[in-house]
Amino acid sequence: MNPHRLIVSAVVATGSSVVTYAAPFELPSLPYGYDALEPFIGKTTLLTHHLKHHAKYVATANTLIESGSALLKNLSQEQIMTAVSSGVELHTENVGLFNNVAQSWNHNFYWHSMKPGGGGKPRGLLADKIEKDFGSYDKLMGEIEKAAMTTFGSGWAWLGFDKKSQKLVVTKTTGAGNPLTDGITPMLTIDVWEHAYYLDYQERRQNYVNAFFAELVNWDFAESNFIAATANDTGETEEL
């Protein structure tokens, strides 16, 4: 195993700024201050979400990995998610392993999907591709907001790049689900677990989703993920 490969693969899978190595995983810092997303996402929400929820997922993932095999200790978060969802028994607590590793990954990706002074429209190559695959930015917005609103219970809505069809797709996952396990590379995500918005919006998920896209979304991050996903792609897919 070449450890450098793992890192390269992780970069490709996650875009430029979100990289995971082998365990023990660290709780990554937020890319902005806890009050930076006020008033759309409150400081208390970010403190709790990052230092309690996200931190707990990372700690639990590390505990599970620590009690697992030597092999498990050498895998990146992406590899653990993909292997478990492919039916590989990596740990006696396989479901818990997946949930905590995926939630560690998903939250880090979510932090980067927002920024203070975000919002607006995508630009450059990503904007062109959105036009091509969805017809227009408005149509993409319609789809992604619908995905965020119709995820029943706890889950995530995503903009992803499907390497097989070479198209951008909107998808939603429940619980800790991540589209990587379906061969879709994430470009952007919104957390629609109630804890992401309950202190600020209570049952009004629609208001949170609206604020996310109008005021917070980080299209530069999505574009960097899109460039990373396409630049390294040969257009070939591998079947197992």
Partner: protein, 267 residues
């Protein structure tokens, strides 16, 4: 080559697109659940049209602040007036123009009926059930399991304390991941502890090992406790015993034992 070696070596192969290979996800209950919900067809219209308001939100038997300090008034108000009311509005919409079915009976085939009935019909039953098994703490503490229920608890769990410990473990975030409910049910001549995702419940065929009749249930969706407890779900769960009305739970036990049917709810 073992399956593990095969998949991992493929993952680590030189290709930069190693993580987006078109591997078939074979497991993952979340994924399966979503497919199930997407794939299920909504029952076709029957002869007798239902009124648009077949189901309603029952008033609470106590004021919103009555469960303080264990469940706070703002949580109760939003939970009842917004969350429960939305489930009721949506189940009325989903069943409009169809034969009117009692909310208990609606649960049995909810999975086949599709996500609108499953999620909103379940959401209505579960919440209506939940409100009525609680009472203000000073009243709740005067209640206790009936002799028959106590005997059943001792038989299935050893003691009431052991049942509570098992229940709390099942309700922990690691055991019941995400949104859902934890139940004590009658199954045959035993009591069973069951966790269900989202608004599913053990009255729904296909949710638990067999159809079971709940006598006690706890909402562990984050909306049930987040304003007061945030991430501290275990504290919410252990505090909740202070507002459980064991007289009502005993009544539920007597009903399902005799009728072999789900407990009726108001609304």
């Amino acid at each position: 080559m073992s399956k593990l070696t095969f998949i991992l070596s493929a993952l680590m192969a030189g290709s930069a697109s190693a993580f987006s290979m078109t591997m078939k996800a074979q497991s993952g209950s979340n994924l399966r659940r979503e497919i199930l919900q997407k794939g299920a067809a909504i029952a076709t219209a029957a002869a007798v049209p239902a009124a648009a308001k077949a189901y309603s939100v029952p008033d609470l038997n106590y004021p919103f602040e009555a469960l303080e300090p264990y469940i706070d008034a703002p949580t109760m108000k939003i939970h009842h007036d917004k969350h429960h009311a939305t489930y009721v509005a949506n189940i009325n919409k989903a069943t409009e123009g169809k034969e009117e079915v009692d909310i208990v009976a609606l649960q049995l085939n909810a999975l086949e009926a599709g996500p609108a009935v499953r999620n909103n019909g379940g959401g209505h039953y579960n919440h209506a059930f939940f409100w009525d098994e609680m009472a203000p703490p000073d009243e709740a503490k005067k209640t206790k399991p009936s002799p028959a229920l106590e005997a059943a608890i001792n038989k299935s769990f050893g003691s009431l304390d052991e049942m509570k410990a098992a229940f709390e473990a099942r309700a922990a975030p690691g055991a019941l991941f995400g949104s859902g409910w934890v139940w004590i049910c009658v199954s045959g001549d035993e009591l069973k502890l069951v966790g269900t995702p989202n608004q599913d419940n053990p009255l729904m065929k296909g949710v638990a090992d067999s159809v079971m009749f709940p006598i006690l249930g706890l909402d562990v969706w984050e909306h049930a406790y987040y304003l007061k407890y945030q991430n501290r779900r275990p504290e919410y769960v252990s505090n909740w015993w202070n507002v459980v009305n064991w007289d009502k739970v005993s009544e539920n036990f007597a009903y399902v034992t005799e009728k072999k049917a789900g407990v009726p709810v108001r609304g």
